[in-house]
C-alpha cells in the first residue's frame, strides 16, 4: 500500500517537475521555432506553433549579413578568459577566508557582495574614460578584466562556501607531511573541491556569456561578442522577429549545449555540502 502511494506521488512530482521545466524552457523553444518561420508567420495572430512551412532562410540571411564566427570567438575568449582569471584570483582568496579567517572576513565578504548592488550604468562613464586612457576600448582583454571583476564576488562566495565544507584537518595533515602553501592548494584542496570549482566555472561562463551591458558599451567592431550580434538584429522600426530569433538561437546554442552536457556537474556542484 505504502509503495503504491509513493509511486503515485513520484509520478505526480515528476509531472509537476516536467511542467515547470517546460514552462521555463518555453520562451527558448518559441525563439527556436520562430527562427524557422517567415517574418509574416512570426507575427501571425493566432500564432502558429508547429504547422508552418519550415524555412532556413533566416539563418541564411544572418550568416550572409554578419560574421558569426568572429562574434562567437569573441564570446568564447571573453567568457572563458574572464572565468579563468576570476578562478585564479578567487581560489587563494577563498582559501584564506575559509581556512585562515580573521575578525573582518565576514565584513570583507559582505563588502565584496555589496559591489554587485551598484547599478552598472552608474560607473559607465568612469570606466569608459579609464578604458580610453589605457587603450582598452574595443579590446577582448579589457572586457576580460571588467567581466572578471564583475563576477569575482560571486566566484569568491561560491568557492568560500565549498571550501568551508572541507575539513581543515585534512589540510593540516598535508602541512604536517611537509606540504607548502602552493602544494596544499593545488594538490590537496583543489582536487577535493573540484565539483564546486566546476560548477562555479560553469555558472560564471554562463553569466559572462550573457552579460550585455558592458559587452555592448565597451566594444565596437573588433571585440564585440554575441550579445552585440543579437542587438544588431533588433529594431523598433521594422518587423524582423524571425531573423532576430535566428540570431538569438545561434547566440545561445553553444552555451545551451555546454549546459546540457555538464548539467550533472552543475547540479552536483550546486548541491555540494547541502546534504550531510
Amino acid at each position: 500500500m505504502a509503495r503504491s502511494v509513493t509511486t503515485r506521488r513520484k509520478a505526480f512530482n515528476t509531472a509537476v517537475a516536467w511542467a515547470i521545466g517546460l514552462l521555463i524552457f518555453f520562451p527558448i523553444l518559441w525563439t527556436i521555432l520562430t527562427s524557422f518561420k517567415t517574418e509574416a508567420q512570426a507575427i501571425a495572430d493566432p500564432p502558429v506553433f508547429l504547422f508552418f512551412d519550415w524555412t532556413l532562410e533566416n539563418y541564411g540571411v544572418v550568416m550572409e549579413r554578419s560574421n558569426y564566427a568572429k562574434f562567437l570567438w569573441n564570446s568564447i575568449a571573453i567568457a572563458g578568459g574572464s572565468t579563468l582569471l576570476g578562478v585564479l584570483i578567487a581560489v587563494p582568496a577563498a582559501w584564506s577566508m575559509a581556512f585562515v579567517p580573521s575578525k573582518r572576513t565576514k565584513d570583507i565578504l559582505m563588502w565584496m557582495l555589496s559591489t554587485k548592488m551598484l547599478p552598472a550604468v552608474g560607473v559607465l562613464y568612469p570606466i569608459y574614460l579609464v578604458f580610453i586612457k589605457l587603450g582598452l576600448l574595443d579590446t577582448k582583454f579589457g572586457l576580460i578584466v571588467v567581466l572578471m571583476l564583475i563576477n569575482l564576488p560571486i566566484i569568491v562566495w561560491m568557492l568560500y562556501t565549498y571550501f568551508r565544507e572541507i575539513p581543515g584537518e585534512i589540510l593540516e595533515a598535508a602541512r604536517m607531511d611537509g606540504a607548502g602553501l602552493k602544494e596544499e592548494i593545488i594538490h590537496v584542496l583543489t582536487p577535493m573541491a573540484l565539483p564546486g570549482i566546476a560548477s562555479t566555472v560553469l555558472l560564471n561562463l554562463i553569466l559572462a556569456w550573457n552579460e550585455a551591458f558592458w559587452t555592448l558599451n565597451l566594444t565596437a567592431a573588433q571585440a564585440a561578442p554575441l550579445t552585440a550580434f543579437i542587438a544588431s538584429y533588433s529594431s523598433p522600426e521594422g518587423l524582423f522577429f524571425a531573423k532576430l530569433s535566428a540570431a538569438s538561437t545561434m547566440a545561445i546554442a553553444p552555451i545551451l549545449i555546454l549546459g546540457w552536457f555538464s548539467q550533472k556537474q552543475l547540479v552536483r556542484g550546486l548541491t555540494f555540502g547541502a546534504v550531510k
Binding site: 507575427i43 562613464y125 580610453i132 521594422g238
Partner: protein, 434 residues
C-alpha cells in the same frame, strides 16, 4: 652585418606594408532596411576608394546610448555615427561633430531638402548629411473606407478621422478603425502625441521655457486622442509602438494607421502584408481651423565625431552614401521603390521615382513640417515632435509615461497634464532655463 641588412630589409618591408595597408573606418548604424542595404553596397565604396568599412549595427536605443557615451568622452570608437535630427544640432553646438561645410561640388549640398538641411544644422552649418528622411502620414485601407461610404480628403481633419475610424471599426471581425502609438518613450508615443498636439495648436514651452501642459490645447489633444482610441483603437493600445501597429495593419486589423512614412514600403509589400494592394495615403490630420498638420519630421543622418583620426576617409564615405550616385546605384540594383527617400530634391524631380505610389505623399508630408515653427504659436526650440535641447529626451520620456497611464485607464487626463506640467517645469528649472 648580415643580421643588420636583414633587419633593414624587414623594416622597409613593414613600412611598405603599412603604407599600402588600406585605411579602415568604423561606422555605427541602426538596423533598418535602408541601412542594411547601404552595408551590403559598401563594397562598391571600398573598390572605388580602397577604404575598408567596418560596421557596428545596433538597435536604435542601444545605439543612441552607445554613441552618446563615445562622443561625450571623445572615445574615438567610431569614425561615422548614424544620428538623428534630435542629436545633430545639440552635438554640433557643443563642437562634438566635424562640420560638413566643405563638401565637394559634385556632391551638390544645395540639393538636400531644405527641411532636412535645416534640422541637421546648427547656426547655418551642416553637421550631418541626411541618408534618408521621413515624416508621418495616414495609411488607410481603401476598401474599408469605401465600405464606410467615405472618401479620404487630401488633408483631412481630426474630426473626419474620428468619424471614419468609428465607421470602419468592426470588433467582431477584429478590425480597429484606427491604430496609433500609445507606448511610453519620447521617440514612441511621445513623438506621436507631440506632433498631434501641434495640429491642435499646443506647444511644449512658451518663449520663456515655461511648460504649457496647463493649456486648453493640450487638454483637447489628450482628451481627443484617448477618446478616439477607446472608441476605435485596438485593445491594449497603451503599449503599442511602431512594430505592434505595423503587425496589426499588415494583418488587416487596422482601418487607418498614422505613422512614419517609411512604413509605406512595408505595408505595400505583398510578401509581408495581407492588405498590400488596398492601401491609400493622405497627409496627417489637423484640427478644423488650425493650419498645422500633425506630422513629424525626422532624418537618419551620417555625422563625423570630432574625436576621430580619420576625418578625410569618413568624409569620403559620407559623401558617397548620401550622394545622388548612391541613389542611382540602389535604383539600378533594387528598384526605385527601395532608394533612401526624403533627403534630396532631385529625387522627387526624377520621373522614374514619381511613379512610386507613396513618393509624392512622402514629399508633401516632409514639406508640410517646419522644425523652426512647429506649431501655431512661437516656440523657443527647433524640432517638430521634440525640442532640440539635451534635457528633452528625459523629460519627454517621463511625460509620455504619464500619458500612457491615461491610455491604460490608470489616471485622468487632468491628472496626467498636471503631473506633466510639474515634471517639465521642475526639470527646466533644475537645468537653468527658468
Amino acid at each position: 652585418m648580415y643580421l643588420r641588412n636583414a633587419l633593414r630589409a624587414a623594416t622597409a618591408l613593414a613600412l611598405i606594408a603599412g603604407a599600402t595597408h588600406a585605411e579602415t573606418i568604423t561606422i555605427a548604424t541602426v538596423n533598418n532596411g535602408d541601412m542594411i542595404r547601404m552595408q551590403g553596397l559598401s563594397d562598391e565604396f571600398t573598390e572605388k576608394t580602397g577604404i575598408e568599412v567596418e560596421w557596428v549595427t545596433l538597435e536604435e536605443n542601444v545605439l543612441r546610448q552607445r554613441v552618446t557615451t563615445d562622443i561625450t568622452t571623445k572615445g574615438g570608437a567610431f569614425d561615422i555615427m548614424t544620428i538623428g535630427m534630435y542629436e545633430t544640432p545639440i552635438w554640433g553646438k557643443n563642437g562634438w561633430l566635424v562640420p560638413l561645410d566643405d563638401l565637394s561640388e559634385e556632391y551638390d549640398a544645395e540639393d538636400i531638402l531644405p527641411a532636412m538641411a535645416g534640422g541637421l544644422s546648427y547656426d547655418g552649418t551642416l553637421y550631418a548629411a541626411p541618408f534618408y528622411g521621413e515624416s508621418s502620414m495616414i495609411m488607410y485601407r481603401t476598401d474599408l473606407m469605401e465600405q464606410a461610404g467615405l472618401e479620404m480628403p487630401a488633408s483631412p481633419t481630426w474630426e473626419f478621422i474620428r468619424e471614419a475610424a468609428a465607421k470602419m471599426t468592426d470588433r467582431d471581425a477584429e478590425i480597429n478603425g484606427i491604430c496609433l502609438r500609445g507606448k511610453a518613450g519620447w521617440g514612441e508615443g511621445g513623438a506621436f502625441i507631440t506632433a498631434m498636439s501641434n495640429s491642435f495648436g499646443a506647444r511644449w514651452f512658451d518663449e520663456d521655457w515655461n511648460a504649457q501642459f496647463d493649456s486648453e490645447a493640450w487638454k483637447e489633444t489628450l482628451t481627443f486622442f484617448s477618446e478616439m482610441m477607446n472608441e476605435s483603437g485596438p485593445a491594449g493600445y497603451a503599449t503599442n509602438g511602431f512594430n505592434e501597429n505595423l503587425s496589426l495593419f499588415q494583418q488587416g486589423k487596422c482601418g487607418m494607421w498614422i505613422d512614419a512614412t517609411v512604413a509605406a514600403s512595408f505595408v505595400t509589400n505583398p510578401n509581408d502584408s495581407t492588405v498590400a494592394d488596398k492601401v491609400g495615403f493622405a497627409l496627417a490630420p489637423h484640427k478644423d481651423g488650425v493650419e498645422k498638420n500633425g506630422n513629424w519630421l525626422w532624418a537618419w543622418a551620417l555625422g563625423i565625431p570630432a574625436g576621430t583620426q580619420k576625418v578625410d576617409a569618413a568624409k569620403q564615405f559620407v559623401e558617397w552614401a548620401t550622394s545622388k550616385d548612391y541613389i542611382e546605384l540602389v535604383a539600378g540594383k533594387e528598384g526605385w521603390a527601395n532608394v533612401p527617400p526624403g533627403a534630396r530634391t532631385s529625387l522627387y524631380e526624377n520621373p522614374e521615382y514619381q511613379k512610386v505610389p507613396f513618393a509624392q505623399m512622402t514629399l508633401d508630408s516632409i514639406l508640410s513640417a517646419d522644425p523652426k515653427n512647429p506649431t501655431v504659436d512661437p516656440v523657443p526650440y527647433t524640432g517638430v515632435q521634440f525640442a532640440a535641447i539635451p534635457e528633452f529626451a528625459g523629460i519627454a520620456t517621463e511625460v509620455s509615461q504619464e500619458f500612457s497611464a491615461v491610455y491604460a485607464g490608470q489616471q485622468t487626463v487632468d491628472e496626467a497634464l498636471e503631473k506633466a506640467q510639474a515634471i517639465t517645469n521642475d526639470a527646466m528649472e533644475a537645468a537653468g532655463y527658468r
